[in-house]
């Protein structure tokens, strides 16, 4: 038996078997099969395989349907329209943005008003060597003393240096750095006690 070389027809044989071909195509395939032994054998094999698919158990349709929950149980009946939900999220996000952003701006302003007031001018060398407590250097003009107290650095020298360094000329900066070279690495006295803002108790 010669092997069929028309792969197009061979691939259509299952469709012929299932009656899935258009009329014109069915006529063409039928005409080919009538003269092609190889395709006739293929078609016989396909018929045998198709008819052998009878061993599957029959399915209890009602039993299956009983296990399927109703659509309303899968998708809740009362569900807000998608557009409403999106709008709600947008409003909530906008509010959150205002609260967080406004709070940040407020905090920044309060912080800057609490730290931008310069201490009275003193000699830089004497200032950095001073061990005066930080609280005494906090300006009295701060609008909110509690906040000002909370943002005051633990070491007063840091604030003094930062405040004065902004206004120094190049020569002044060089002088300041030379002064800093003469500092001791270790503090000359006990660190100041930290005062709790809320309770006022010493820790």
């Amino acid at each position: 038996m010669n092997k069929c070389t028309d792969s197009d027809i061979q691939e259509l044989l299952p469709d012929l078997l299932h009656g899935a071909l258009a009329e014109a195509e069915k006529v063409r395939v039928d005409a080919h099969v009538a003269t092609c032994e190889s395709c006739q054998e293929d078609l016989d094999v396909l018929r045998t395989v198709k008819s052998a698919a009878v061993f599957a158990p029959s399915i209890d349709v009602d039993g299956v349907v009983r296990q399927i929950p109703p659509y309303r149980a899968i998708v809740p009946a009362v569900e807000a329209p998608a557009r409403t939900r999106v709008a709600s999220w947008l409003v909530a996000a906008t509010l959150a943005l205002f609260v967080v952003g406004g709070g940040s701006v407020l905090m920044t302003r309060q912080n800057s008003s609490g730290t931008s007031v310069k201490p009275p001018p003193v000699d830089s060398g004497a200032r950095v060597a001073s061990t005066q407590p930080a609280q005494s250097r906090v300006p009295v003009a701060t609008p909110n003393p509690r906040i000002a107290e909370s943002v005051t650095p633990a070491h007063p020298h840091a604030l003094a240096l930062a405040a004065e360094a902004d206004g120094l000329s190049d020569r002044g900066l060089v002088q300041l750095m030379n002064d800093m070279d003469t500092f001791d690495a270790l503090p000359g006295s006990e660190p100041d006690p930290v005062i709790s803002v809320d309770s006022g108790d010493s820790l």
Binding site: K50, F55, A56, I59, V61, D62, V64
Partner: protein, 185 residues
């Protein structure tokens, strides 16, 4: 819409789905009745022996639970085959895990029909069964979907997660193997 045996126009799957969503449980019965046997045959021909009814039931439960994701790009039956095939693979993975055997690969399928023997009375059916056993798991899936279910190569590619070209090659190789096996018997 094709006419039903009673002369009334046969509702399409999409129409039945819409009716079920609207609360008509009879639509679900129609859909299950329309596709359940095809799913059972596919499972059997793919090598499933035990719990085919349960498998078909699980397939429908899953399918109905996610019908909103079915857009009708393929036929409902193709989509159901895809779900059933995934469930079969999950089952086999679980079975292999409990047996502590070799790791399961995506296309690794059960190849023995064991318990089916008693169900096959006809000699021709027995020969076909053996010839299908001679195929690789993927070849058998493609071949049975094409021959027993009448799916197109495009639909088969969707079910088995492959390409149309690969499905054609698997079909071609499968029919050659089956033909030779039946000829030699």
């Amino acid at each position: 819409m094709t006419p039903s045996p009673e002369g009334r126009p046969e509702e399409t799957d999409m129409e039945l789905i819409d009716r079920w969503k609207a609360g008509d449980s009879r639509a679900a019965t129609r859909l299950v009745g329309r596709h359940s046997q095809a799913l059972a045959r596919f499972a059997a021909s793919a090598g499933e022996r035990d719990g085919i009814e349960e498998l078909v039931q699980d397939t429908f439960v899953r399918a109905f639970a996610s019908l909103d994701s079915f857009r009708g790009a393929s036929t409902l039956r193709t989509w159901l085959f895809t779900i059933e095939r995934r469930l079969m693979l999950d089952r086999r993975r679980a079975e292999r895990r409990t047996r502590e055997t070799v790791p399961v690969q995506e296309a690794d399928h059960v190849s023995e029909y064991g318990a089916l023997d008693s169900l096959i009375a006809e000699e021709a059916q027995e020969r076909v069964r053996k010839s299908l056993d001679a195929l690789s798991p993927t070849q058998r899936e493609v071949f049975t979907l094409r021959v027993q279910q009448g799916l197109s190569y495009k639909e088969i590619a969707e079910v088995v997660g492959s390409t149309e070209g690969a499905a054609r090659v698997h079909y071609h190789n499968a029919i050659q193997t089956v033909k030779e096996f039946l000829r030699d018997e």
